[in-house]
């Protein structure tokens, strides 16, 4: 990645999570926590319903950065806070999240990128930040 400037906006990405996506992610990741597939177990933990895996949300947010990089190996640091659970209803519509990102800082061969994840008006990730190598 060359000539990266502070303020550069990365192409946004909109993702829809349906129950089948959570089941697929559970299988691929090995995370079978029942809050991601059982309404009963989610309610027992005080959740409003089955919620998307935080790691699935985090993986989707990373795509905004890695889609933009020439080589995903240039991602050197990546962190998020899971501030708001994404409730995924048992219907065909699912839950839609839009990810966007902006370069916040460029220094010493690295760029720091702030990522925003919005489900409707609500931010579902906090302090989502990636550090990438730039040349």
């Amino acid at each position: 990645m060359t000539s990266v400037e502070v303020g550069t906006e990365l192409p946004a990405l909109t993702v829809t999570f349906r129950r089948e996506d959570l089941v697929r992610y559970a299988g691929a990741s090995g995370d079978f926590n029942p809050i991601h597939w059982s309404d009963r177990m989610a309610a027992a933990l005080g959740l409003p319903g089955v919620i998307a895996h935080g790691m699935l949300t985090m993986a989707s947010a990373a795509r905004v950065v890695t889609d933009w990089l020439d080589d995903p190996a240039d991602l050197v640091e990546y962190g998020v806070r899971f501030t708001k659970p994404i409730v995924v209803p048992d219907d065909d519509k699912g839950a839609t999240v839009t990810f966007s990102a902006k370069v916040d800082k460029v220094a010493d061969g690295h760029a720091e990128i702030d990522i925003t994840a919005l489900a409707g008006e609500e931010k579902v990730l906090g302090r989502a930040r990636a550090v990438v190598r730039v040349r």
Binding site: A28, A59, T66
Partner: protein, 140 residues
Amino acid sequence: MTIDATMVGRSYTAAETYQVGREKIREFAAAIGDTNPAYAGDDAVAPPTFAFVLSAPALDLLLADPELGLRLDRIVHGAQKFNYVRPIKAGDAVGATATITTVRKAGDVEVIMYETVLTSGDGEQLATSTATVTHNRADA
């Protein structure tokens, strides 16, 4: 027993290395809807968040420690960070050691931070995963 701050520093090392396979990378990339060509083919690298999957065998040991008294179905992921040294590739044999770094308690809720170091078979550090989880001991 229940977890408390005296348990900071406890470490859990997965008994076996995780053998990263091309097909597992393909399955994981499909599950996150990522069609990046870097994640396909014989020279596939794993998507960045696959590092969490590799940390899971060490986390399972932490969860199974009877002295901590934790239950997976009472855990919610609060925060996650990765530091990458190099990408994980198909063919890597990855070892994982998780260490409890912080324990904070507020009533029935325990906030636990643990760090997992991922290494290759010959001891090369590949990535570090830092997770914060909330464990709720209250009966709903």
